[in-house]
């Protein structure tokens, strides 16, 4: 038996497989947890203070990690990252760019001209820009850079350019900076190489930040950097994250990569110096750009953008995201300034402005032959628009009339003119004017009462006849005068279709019309009819007169009908609220009535009712019309009257009604129309009854439904007291009902329904639970973050489904778009002297940043700049986008808040500076250089600082001392002259305090009549005639209004770094060889003997003074009176001898005594020394003895202790 037992198979613990893993995991988990249980003391609270400290620390660290959450505004498709390659000359910048481009795109580039954009990855594009050594370029590029590759020649070390660039970056917002060491192959010794690397690295870290990335490019192979190293650098670049910089995220900007001169060649030929119109292309960065905004081009100046439009991306990101890497086709390279990517560019139809006739031909070809089909296809415009476009010619060969002429559009209209030179459409402003009959209409329409329209129309009918006759006469005369100058209608039409985003307003209407067309298929027949007419008219105008008439009249009728209905239910749609709109509509009708007195039966009468109702429906869907109403091209109140209208009518006198409108009462109150009769209880009151809490609620918010929902959730409960069980209204009952209903119709799966219901209920319960329990943890920070997140989502969602053309009008051009900006009147030098090596940047300006004013800034001379700066010496500042020369005044704030003018900046301190310059938001940094011309050996950046204030009242003052002389002295009163010139001046300073050089204080009392400018003043003490009186005053200094933009880009090629502005006084003197003539008063000269009058002190004061400060009474005694004079003693010769001998003897005695004393003194000194030594020895002895004693005592003590310790167990 035993043996059997022994033979039993032993348990074999698993060492591998899922079981073993499970066990291991279990053990691991348990041990960790057990530690706490096993050793509770170790985890117990030892010290409350310490606990609090650790807690605080943990919280501090946690909170430090928080940043203020910002709404995420990064565009979905961001613009290419701007990588600026900086470094002193001959350091390998171009080579590096070439290598990187080759690395990413497998293409070789020759000269790096202008920005080079490449697709580097699935989600990233890069724009490389080389920065030359010119400080202008460095400043400009530092403002737009996302990443800076800072090349450093390791064989040489750091050069000033590097530090200058770093300093520029610090001022304008710090982009990411990566250092690249080149020329490392010049080191033969490995140790020195290592040392140099380390030194450079640490110096670089102190400038950028600890641990900033520094790349080493060791050696060149066939004139290129090593492939592996470049690849590594490329990887770093393509995964780098960027920080948003304040200035960049708040301003739109474009780094221009293409420039086209659009100026009329003929104009250039005749006047080579004429201002040019250029279009500049580039990716939009920063924030949204509004059309027609203001931009600054650093190095050129401020410009108004005349037009912006976006183009298809010339260097798009790949579409498909599945793949891991880009294929060769997707590795795009775009550098138009370097002449690369041009072919793609042409193919890509960036030349969107195709000539109109070309497009037209294409369209003709595909056009269906049947007119009906054609008309159906061509329904591009609503009736409204068509009416506006339709034209009537009254007589063959006469000028066509279109309703825009007839309508009173009292403003300049824009006319699309094809400009063959620029190959694009231009918007010319055409001024029209009102017609003579108009005042009657406008007068009537100005009356708010819309119901009176009908009667008006009847009235107008009476006027028709004479109106018509004058009208016809006029037209005839005109037709004779003018040859047939029909506008090229067809071309215009085509252009309208093709150039979708030629202009914002037109565009808006276009899109509306198109959308309307899509939506309203039912209306197609009607509008198709109109368009057909339109079409034919363009082909042959004379033929289809009848048809046109009919059509126009139909529209008239239609609108009349519309108006009538409108008058009834006007309140039901917003359209009706505007009296402006009515104005237009009304006059429209009138014109047509005049033109075509009703006659005969025509085919247009068919289906009139239907048309009218359609029109009504259309207007009821007033959404696009509302947009048009607000932003449409109408309602320009601000135009001058012009004499002619459409080549037909002449204005006889100015319209009073219009003026009235322009000068109406400015009141925000919305006077309600009287159409609502609130006395009609049932109708009106019911219409708003649901606006109140007492009214009917929506399904989702109704109290009953909510209650029901609650019941479903919490219905089941058991009343514990009574033991009653309440059953909630679960799905069963409903299901029964449902089933009954549905069984008759379809067989529905019961289970599924129930399951869904259960799931639904569960979900709702969970939501409720989540809402209750998750709220507890949410901190303020989390809430804020969530809010921002929501806002970001909302921002994205709002315009997501809108097409770009419309979207651009609302939110402006998005960053990431490839835009084309047209700027007119740019100086011709910009085009003539264009050098692609210099960056052209378009910096968008904020609303008030286009203005110039006074700025107060805080400024500090740079530590490394060798000289201090002088007030009123011109200085070149880089502030915002701009670089400009200005004249600063330096000042410092006194303790009482006064800004005192300084002649020079302090050496190591901040001081204030006031300038006249472009208004820039507060808190913007700036830097100053004294000259941008050439390269100097020393550090170029003179000062840095920040804008503090934009106050326009200047408060800098300088001290002014006015000097006067007393000419009459009474007791404490003086008459003083020479300080002022007139009585008036004195009057201004009455009561001012004055002082003498000796410190006697006084006050100006009143002016004296003669001599002019003299005044009476009182002092605290009597003055002397020799005193000088001065008045210390503060004189406000005005800031010189010099604002001189640095126009470095306009200089000829090769001289762009030679911009020289206003010279400083020192330079001027140096250049002109002028030596300063010093003021004679300021020269040092020997002191002139003056009369010194002793000051007298009161006796009492003298008494109270300590002896040291008492005036010494050592004045010469003067002559003693005769009676006090003593007679002088004259000795006899013998006496004299005796005295001499005595004197000699005493001298000898004195000498002996002195000698003896010295000997005695020396002896005593020796004695004292000896005594000291003895004393010291004695002390030493005593100390040793004491030491011995203590040692013995200590030993004894220890013995005693030991024995006592030993003794204790013995005792036990």
């Amino acid at each position: 038996m035993d043996g059997k037992v022994k033979e039993q198979k032993r348990h074999q613990a698993k060492h591998s497989g899922p079981k073993a893993q499970k066990k291991l995991k279990k053990q691991g988990g348990s041990t960790e947890e057990d530690e706490c249980k096993r050793n509770p003391k170790a985890f117990a609270v030892q010290s409350a203070v310490r606990m609090a400290k650790t807690f605080h620390r943990a919280q501090d660290i946690k909170t430090k990690k928080h940043h203020i959450p910002l709404v995420d505004r990064t565009p979905l498709e961001p613009p290419p990252v701007v990588i600026v390659v900086v470094g002193p000359p001959k350091v390998g910048k171009s080579t590096l760019i070439r290598c990187l481009i080759k690395n990413f795109t497998r293409q070789k580039m020759g000269d790096i001209c202008g920005p080079v954009t490449i697709v580097s990855g699935k989600k990233r594009r890069l724009t490389f820009m080389e920065c030359n050594n010119d400080i202008n370029t460095m400043i400009d590029l530092a403002k737009v850079a996302d990443l800076v590759l800072m090349l450093i020649d390791a064989s040489f070390g750091f050069e000033m350019e590097t530090f200058e660039f770093l300093n520029i970056c610090q001022v304008h917002g710090f982009p990411r900076i990566m250092g690249v060491l080149t020329h490392l192959d010049s080191f033969k010794n490995n140790k020195t190489l290592r040392k140099t690397k380390k030194n450079l690295k640490h110096r670089f870290w102190t400038e950028v930040y600890q641990g900033a990335k520094l790349f080493y490019l060791s050696g060149m192979v066939y004139g290129e950097y090593q492939t592996q190293e470049v690849k590594n650098l490329g990887r770093f670049i393509s995964v780098m994250k960027f920080r948003p910089l304040v200035w960049q995220t708040s301003h739109p900007y474009v780094l221009v990569d293409r420039m086209e001169d659009l100026t009329d060649p003929e104009r250039v030929r005749t006047d080579p110096k004429c201002d040019r119109t250029v279009s500049l292309y580039g990716y939009l960065r920063g924030t949204h750009l509004k059309n027609k905004g203001q931009v600054h081009v650093p190095g050129v100046g401020d410009f108004q953008v005349s037009d912006v439009n976006f183009l298809p991306d010339p260097c798009p990101l790949p579409d498909a995201q599945k793949k891991r890497a880009l294929n060769e086709k997707e590795r795009l390279l775009y550098a138009p300034m370097a002449g690369v990517g041009g072919v793609v560019y042409d193919k890509d139809a960036v030349y969107i402005d195709l000539p109109a006739n070309h497009v037209n031909q294409q369209q003709e070809e595909v056009r269906p032959t049947t007119e009906l089909v054609q008309s159906l296809i061509d329904t591009h415009a609503t009736l409204d628009a068509k009416m506006a476009a339709s034209k009537v010619s009254l007589f063959s060969g006469s000028v066509t009339l279109d309703p825009t002429d007839i309508e009173e559009k009292e403003g300049p209209h824009e006319k699309q003119v094809w400009d063959p030179n620029t190959q694009r459409e231009r918007r010319a402003v055409v001024f029209t004017e009102e017609e003579e009959e108009e005042d009657a209409v406008t007068g009537s329409s100005d009356e708010e009462d819309d119901n009176s329209e009908d009667s008006e129309q009847e009235k107008e009918a009476d006027e028709e006849d004479d109106n018509l006759s004058t009208f016809l006469k006029d037209a005839r005369a005109r037709s004779e005068r003018t040859e047939k100058t029909a506008p090229p209608v067809k071309r215009q039409r085509v252009e309208e279709e093709m150039l979708v985003f030629a202009d914002s307003e037109d565009d808006l209407e276009m899109s509306e019309e198109e959308s309307e067309e899509k939506g309203q298929s039912g209306r197609a027949g009607d509008s198709g009819h109109c368009s057909e007419e339109d079409e034919e008219e363009t082909e042959d105008e004379e033929e289809e007169d009848d048809d046109q008439e009919s059509d126009d009249e139909s529209t008239v009728e239609l609108d009349q009908h519309f108006l009538n209905t409108l008058a009834k239910d006007k309140s039901d749609f917003i359209f009706a609220i505007s009296s402006f709109h009515f104005h237009v509509v009304l006059t429209l009708i009138r014109r047509h009535v005049i033109l075509f007195p009703s006659s005969g039966t025509l085919k247009w009468k068919e289906g009139l009712q239907q048309k009218a109702s359609e029109a009504f429906l259309r207007h009821q869907e007033a959404a696009p019309n509302l947009r048009k109403l607000v932003y449409g091209s109408e309602a320009d109140d601000s135009e001058e009257d012009k004499e002619e209208l459409g080549g037909l009518f002449r204005v006889s006198r100015p319209q009073k009604s219009k003026k009235f409108k322009a000068n109406a009462v400015d009141c925000s109150r919305f006077i309600p129309d009287t159409s609502h009769n609130w006395d009609l209880e049932e109708v009106m009151l019911n219409s708003i009854r649901d606006c109140f809490v007492t009214g009917k609620w929506e399904e989702s918010q109704d109290a009953a439904t909510l209650l029901k929902e609650d019941e479903e959730l919490y219905g089941d409960f058991e009343d514990l007291e009574t033991g009653e069980v309440h059953k909630g209204q679960t799905g069963e009952k409903d299901d029964d009902n449902d089933d009954e209903a549905e069984e008759s119709l379809v067989k529905v799966d019961d289970e599924e329904v129930q399951k869904n219901k259960r799931l639904d209920k569960k979900r709702r319960l969970k939501e409720r639970f989540d809402a209750e329990y998750d709220d507890g943890d949410a901190t303020y920070f989390d809430d804020l973050k969530e809010e921002m997140q929501k806002q970001a989502e909302l921002n994205r969602a709002e315009f997501e489904d809108v097409d770009d053309e419309t979207r651009v009008q609302y939110e402006g051009f998005r960053p990431g778009m490839y835009v084309r900006l047209e700027i007119s009147s740019i100086p011709c030098e910009f085009v003539i002297n264009f050098d692609p090596h210099y960056p052209v940047i378009l910096g968008g300006l904020g609303s008030s940043e286009g203005n110039i004013g006074y700025l107060q800034m805080r400024l500090k001379k740079h530590r490394w700049y060798e000289r201090i700066l002088k007030t009123r010496d011109p200085l070149i500042l880089s502030l915002g986008w701009r670089r400009f020369q200005t004249i600063p005044l330096y000042h410092i704030e006194d303790h009482n808040g006064r800004h005192r003018l300084l002649k020079y900046t302090p050496q190591h301190m901040h001081c204030g500076a006031s300038i006249w310059g472009p208004i820039t938001p507060q808190g913007t940094g700036f830097l100053a250089v004294q000259s941008v011309a050439g390269t100097k050996a020393n550090f170029r950046i003179a000062a840095t600082g920040v804008v503090l204030d934009l106050d326009k009242s200047v408060t800098v003052v300088k001290k002014l001392k006015l000097i006067g002389y007393p000419y009459k002295i009474f007791k404490n009163t003086c008459f003083i002259k020479g300080m002022f010139n007139t009585v008036l001046e004195v009057a201004k300073f009455e009561g001012a305090s004055v002082r003498t050089v000796s410190g006697v204080r006084g006050q100006i009392k009143k002016a004296l009549s003669t001599p002019p400018g003299a005044y009476r003043a009182t002092f605290e003490d009597r003055l002397l005639m020799s005193d000088i009186v001065f008045l210390r005053s503060w004189y406000p200094v005005s800031v010189p209004q010099l604002y001189n933009p640095v126009t470095s880009l306009l200089l000829p090629v090769g001289q762009k770094d030679n911009w020289a502005g206003m010279r400083t006084m020192g330079q001027l003197k140096h250049d002109l060889g002028i030596r300063n003539k010093p003021n004679a008063d300021s020269l040092y000269k020997s002191e002139a003997k003056g009369i010194s009058t002793p000051s007298t002190f009161p006796k009492e004061l003298q008494k109270s003074l300590p002896f040291k400060s008492k005036p010494k009474q050592q004045q010469s005694k003067g002559k003693t009176p005769r009676d006090l004079q003593r007679p002088s003693v004259i000795r006899e010769p013998h006496e004299r001898k005796v005295a001499a001998l005595l004197h000699a003897l005493s001298t000898v005695h004195n000498y002996k005594r002195k000698k003896a004393h010295m000997v005695q003194h020396a002896k005593h000194k020796e004695f004292l020394q000896q005594k000291g030594k003895q004393e010291e020895a004695k002390l030493k002895r005593q100390k040793e003895a004491r030491k011995k004693l203590y040692r013995v005592m200590g030993q004894m003590d220890r013995k005693k202790l030991r024995s006592s310790l030993k003794g204790a167990p013995q005792e036990d």
Partner: protein
Amino acid sequence: MASQGLVYDGCNFFRQRLVLSTLSGKRVKIKNIRSKDDDPGLRDFEASFIRLLDKVTNGSRIEINQTGTVLFYQPGLLYGGSVEHDCNQQRSIGYYLEALLMLAPFMKTSLKATLRGVTNDPVDPTVDLLKSTALPVMKKFGIGGDGFELKVVKRGMAPGGGGEVVFTCPVCRTMRPVQLTDPGKIKRIRGVAYSVRVSPQMANRIVESARGVLNQFLPDIYIHTDHMKGANSGKSPGFGLTLVAETLNGFFLSAEMSSTPQGQGNPVLPEDLGRNCAKLLLEEIHRGGCVDSSNQSLALLLMTLGQQDVSKVLLGPLSPYTIEFLRHIRDFFQIMFKIEVQKPFEDERKGGDKVPQPR
């Protein structure tokens, strides 16, 4: 400098232009101000308004030609501070205050404006109306906190005036983006019936009649009477009523009516005034929206000047003033609003269409 100003014709929407010019920093030139009028040029109240602008700004340049028909305005910096202004009595303080409400949050230092003149007249929004509607609108945008209030110290009816209003507003760095799309239902109606230099019974009569109309909808109506006496009652007699309807979501719709100024037009019976005012309120409710018609432009301005985020506001029918304001915003800020029309549901009876306006 390349920044050209904007040029306008005529004195209509005078305030809008100057206010927007001040806020945007764009200079503006207004020509032909009543040039064909018998009495050409700027009126006194407009001159007074310009003076007020000059007081709250620093460094504005204003040039007016000899006849007063051309005005050139180069705005300065909005400075704020303590300002006292005697408003011209041709227009009520509301005329000036509306502009000041738009400017106040964007000042450099917090504003404390004391305005004297006519507090209530039938033309402009009265001070009471602005207090009860404009301030809540601004609060929705995050303006407010300590010292954001409008106090009617003395009441002065047209034409004599003699009222005094103190408006204080702190500086607001950033506007909050808002989504005011659901007005909610009206839960209560409040109001002020004021009377000065007439029998205090007038106010009670107004309240009586107004309640008569409004009680059909809501029981929660409280109109309190405000009878000012002595020095606080201004120089002219008059009475009026301001009604405010508050919705569940904290929006305010308002209507008001004042008696005709003494010596101008027919006198009004207080009962009629109360009833008409109540009807005006119903009209306003019929129009609906989250912001009532007199503050539409204020809300739109605050949306414009906020951050780049999308804001939405549901408005009733746009008033002509607002429409012009939208155009001006486009001129000055190059900002267009996306305007959609919200259709009422079939079974709902909530008045006219509403216009939400995201930007």
